[in-house]
Each structure stands twice: as C-alpha cells, then as structure tokens.
C-alpha cells in the first residue's frame, strides 16, 4: 500500500531529519484492512531511528503529538482504529511552544 508519511515540529529528527517519506506498507499477516494501530507499529519499526519514546507511549503516540489522516485530526476518525487506504497522507506533528 502506497502511503505518504510526514513528520514535523521536531519529530523528523527521530527519522534522520527527513520530513516526507513515500513508503510502501504491506498488510501484516492475517490482517485484511490496515488501520492506524498497524501503521504506528510499522513506523516505529521501519522509520524511527532513535529515541522511540519521543514518538510513542504505550501503543499510541506520546502526549503532544497530533496525528492527521488526510489533513484531519485522527480523533475525528477513530484514533488507532482509523482505516488507512491507498495513497493516504498521514502527518505526525509535535506541538510547538516557542515564540
């Protein structure tokens, strides 16, 4: 499944400072439809190169990270249960505090 994953607000530092990743994600064994839970575990294994605790806490993202599926807050689409489809754009962004 072709997906575009983007990291911002400093999260890109966890994946070698690359913000945009065009990736091909295969369905895990025994899974018919990919959801955000599967994708998070894929990201953690395949893209996060350092300090995974800066990206995840338990089986979800750490506090202060917004997840956007096709420019829409994942809270509005079921969080970890959000279904992911071909060509979706998923953005992980850390909230900023500076000024």
């Amino acid at each position: 499944m072709q997906l575009t994953l983007e990291f911002g607000g400093g999260l890109e530092l966890l994946c070698e400072s690359v913000k945009i990743h065009k990736v091909n994600v295969d369905l895990p064994d025994g899974v018919d439809n990919l959801n955000m839970k599967h994708l998070l575990s894929w990201v953690r294994t395949n893209l996060i190169k350092e300090r995974p605790e800066m990206f995840m806490k338990g089986d979800t993202v750490r506090p202060g990270v917004l997840v956007l599926v096709n420019d829409c807050d994942w809270e509005l689409s079921g969080q970890l249960d959000t279904a992911i489809e071909e060509k979706d754009v998923i953005v992980f962004i850390s909230t900023l505090h500076g000024g």
Binding site: C72, I93, G99
Partner: protein, 469 residues
C-alpha cells in the same frame, strides 16, 4: 592607545545616555499627542486635524456619521473602510474592542504593531522581560535604544508611535495564577504569544473560566503553528493536549534556535485572526489549525477535533473553577520550570570552576578538553584544543575520546612519566557536561570532571570577550 581607549568608551557611554533620553522624549511626545487627541476629540470631534486632512469643524452627527467614526478616523482607516468585506461596521467594532497580547517577543512584536495600526480600541501588553541584544533579530517591535529596558515599555512606545489615538495598557509583570483572572477579565480577546508550556496551559484555562476567545500561535526553528481556542463552542488547549508532553519534547528558542521571520509570519497571522474576531468578519481559525513550514514553503490548514465533553477544564462535568485555577501549579503540571536553575548531578570533587580551568591552561597541565555541545554550536565558538563529541553521540564515538586520551599519554611516555592526563568536559551552560561526566565515570574515565557553568561561566568569570550566544 590608553587615552584613545578611554575616549571611545566615554563616547559610547554618552551615546547610550543620549539614545535613552531620545527614546524617553519620543515616548513623552507620543503620550502627550495621545492625550491631546483624547481631550480635543472629547470636546470637538473634528478639531484634531492630522496630516493631510482638513475639514470644517463640525460634530460627527452633522455628517450623519451614525457609525461613530470621527473624520480623522475615517481618514486614518480609509483603506480598511474601502474593503467591501470589512467596511465601516467592522472598523467600528474593532475600535470598540479590547485585546490583550501576552508576551512582547517574536510573536507579540508583529501582532502588536498590526493591532495598534489597524485600530483596536484598547491594547494591553503583558511581559516581565527586558529587551536583550539577542532578541533583536526577531522581536522587531524593539529598538536598540531600549536594550535593558522592559519589553512592555518598549513595545508600548512603538505602538504609540504608530497610532497615538488608541489606548494602550502596560502590564510590566509576569502572568501568574494570582493575577491572570483579574488581568484577562479586562479584555475581549486574548492573544497567546508566550514561549513555554506552563504559560500556554494557564492562559487557556483562564480563558475557559472567563469565556474569552484565545488566539494561539507558536514558532520554533523553521516551523510555526496557529489556531483559535475556546471560540464559539470550539476546543480549548486541553481538549487537544490533555496531557503535557515530556519535558524533553519542549524545546526553547534559546536552545534550539529560530529564524526571526518565522514567528514574524505567525505573529502577523495572530493579528489577522484577532482582527477577524474583534470585527466579526470572516471565518475564525477555530477547530482548524494552520501549520507553517518555512523551509519547504508550505502552509497546510488541517481540521482538528471539537470541544471534548471529557475535557477536565471545559468539559461537561468539569469541576475546574476559579479557586482551583488560583491554586493550580502549572510548572509542576508540565514539569517545566519557568526559572530553570542549573543541574547539580555531581559531587564537588568531580567538578572544577572555569577559573580553575584557566590555571590548568596557564600551568600547561596535560589534559583533554571534551566539548559535548551539538556540532553546529561548536562551529559558532569553542575553546582552543578542544575535542567536540556531542552528548547524543558520546556513547557511539567513545573511541575518539579514548584515542585522544591515549595520545596525551603517549606524548608523555617519552619523558618517563605515566600519570594519566586529566579529562575536562565543557558544554554551553554546565548541564550536559555533568550528564557526560556521569556517563564517562561509569565507563572507566575516572578522572573526568565538568567545568561548572560551561562556556557561559568562562565568558563571565575568565574572558569577558569570549562570545556568548
């Protein structure tokens, strides 16, 4: 030479004094002008004639000006009145509105200038900081003459010089749970232009309690974020971020850097959202967030969640009232101290002062100096003969340190002495160096010591001409 040096320092001193007097006089002029404007406007609306405008003196009502704008105001704001989507009604609402900008820094600078210029009726500024030279690249409201003076005084003077006809409130103090309710309650719209998590939670909670819309902006490095909270049933800051992020994820501009124009862009957009709310024009950025990436020149506006029924502050069953707010410890909640003291991880025998290190250099004692700052910091300035291995890479690059120590040993083997060279560790302020020494001692570098206070202490106590940043 000696005499010349004395002369120039005297000239610099006199220049400083003159600049300060000049800014004070300018401030006084704009205050008096504002006062004059107020008194004449009260007596005879048309008497206060500004540049390029002249009119027969007659009260506004004779022109049938039911919107209440004086001829002066019509002229000053004419380009906004000419906008069909804005017009005289929006301008009239704007002139009746009051806005509080919290923070006169990188975001607050452009926000304040535009809000003053466009004719917000009353503009409050709150900040406890003074203007510093390393603010000037982004905090464009301040001028060099105000370095060392309160940011609020500087910002207020600049706003008055742009528009002497609006009212400006100066709050030279830190916003705290003890004064926030009282100060915020005096304004219609609140602008969060602060730079830290505890302030952001405190301001949002206070806005919920008072029912005020909050225009929130943030910027760091090359990125910015903007949204409007607590507006028309929309979410508050806590609906989005119920749990504060880990402290390690909260970077400060003073540590991570920021390109000046990035908070500038976000601050301008904060002024825009504020103007829209105050004049009741357009669609506010509520339940949406604007994400700005300067490097790739991309702006994306995303849809975010609405108000959460479970929110502990604005939710349906919230028991968060003014009394809870006053007693709430935001620094503890976010684990983000606003006045960060230095770490103290090591026993005294594992540390030396910068003055002691100077003596070691003078005595030419054999040693290795390890600088654990990030490499882009090291490129700005460093002590001579130092080895740079950033703290984050120390474990992976420990071989380089081992061979640097060995080299010093070998160099001395020829003279017949076999004592180990000492190992000193330095960073910017003396925190990371302690973490590094802790790690190094556990890894067999028994002589490792950190230089207390880092390069900042070196600049203060040993070499005042050593650059700080």
């Amino acid at each position: 030479m000696e005499a010349n040096g004395g002369d120039s320092s005297e000239i610099v001193r006199e220049l400083e004094a003159l600049k300060l007097r000049k800014s004070e006089i300018e401030h006084r002029i704009s205050t008096l002008e504002a006062k004059l404007q107020e008194t004449t406007a009260a007596v005879e609306p048309c008497d206060a004639v500004s540049n390029g405008y002249s009119s027969p003196s007659s009260p506004a009502i004779e022109h049938g000006l039911e919107h209440g704008l004086s001829p002066d105001q019509i002229y000053r704001y004419s380009r906004q009145l000419l906008l069909p989507s804005f017009g005289v009604e929006a301008q009239s609402s704007l002139l009746k509105s009051s806005v509080l900008v919290i923070g006169a820094g990188g975001l607050g600078s452009p926000a304040l200038l535009y809000l003053a210029a466009c004719g917000v009726g009353r503009l409050g500024i709150i900040d406890h900081d003074v203007v510093e030279l390393n603010n000037m690249h982004r905090q464009i409201i301040h001028t060099e003459a105000f370095i060392g003076h309160p940011k609020v005084k500087s910002a207020a003077a600049a706003c008055r010089s742009v528009n002497s006809t609006i009212k400006i409130d100066e709050h030279v103090e830190a916003l705290r749970t003890s004064n926030a309710l009282e100060i915020l309650s005096q304004y219609d719209i609140i602008v969060d232009a602060t730079d830290n998590p505890p302030s952001r939670y405190m301001i949002s909670d206070c806005c919920v309690l008072l029912g005020k819309p909050l225009v929130s902006g943030a910027a760091l490095g090359m990125e910015g974020q903007l949204t409007v909270y607590n507006h028309n049933g929309g979410p508050c800051y806590r609906c989005l971020f119920p749990t504060p992020p880990p402290t390690t994820a909260c970077q400060r501009c003073s540590d991570s850097g920021v390109l000046g124009v990035v908070p500038g862009v976000i601050g301008c957009l904060q002024a825009l959202e504020t103007i829209k709310l105050a004049s009741m024009v357009g669609e506010p950025l509520s339940e949406r967030m604007l994400l700005f990436d300067a490097l790739s020149a991309r702006v994306r506006v995303v849809k975010i969640r609405g108000r959460s029924a479970q929110c502990v502050v604005c939710g349906d069953n919230s028991s968060f009232k003014k009394q809870q707010f006053k007693n709430f410890d935001y620094e503890d909640f976010t684990q983000f101290p606003l006045t960060a003291g230095p770490l103290n991880l090591l026993p005294t025998e594992s540390r030396i002062s910068s003055k002691e290190f100077k003596e070691i250099l003078q005595k030419k004692e054999r040693h290795v100096l390890l600088d654990v700052r990030p490499s882009h910091h090291y490129k700005i300035v460093s002590l001579p003969d130092s080895l740079n291995i950033p703290l984050a890479n120390l474990e992976a690059r420990i071989n380089e340190l081992t061979s640097a120590v060995k080299e010093k040993e070998d160099g001395h083997v020829n003279t017949g002495s076999f004592t180990n060279p000492s190992l000193y560790v330095v960073c910017r302020r003396g925190n990371d160096s302690q973490i590094a020494v802790q790690y190094l001692r556990e890894s067999g570098f028994d002589s490792a010591k950190d230089i207390i206070g880092g390069l900042e202490a070196w600049a203060t106590d040993v070499n005042p001409s050593f650059p700080t940043y």
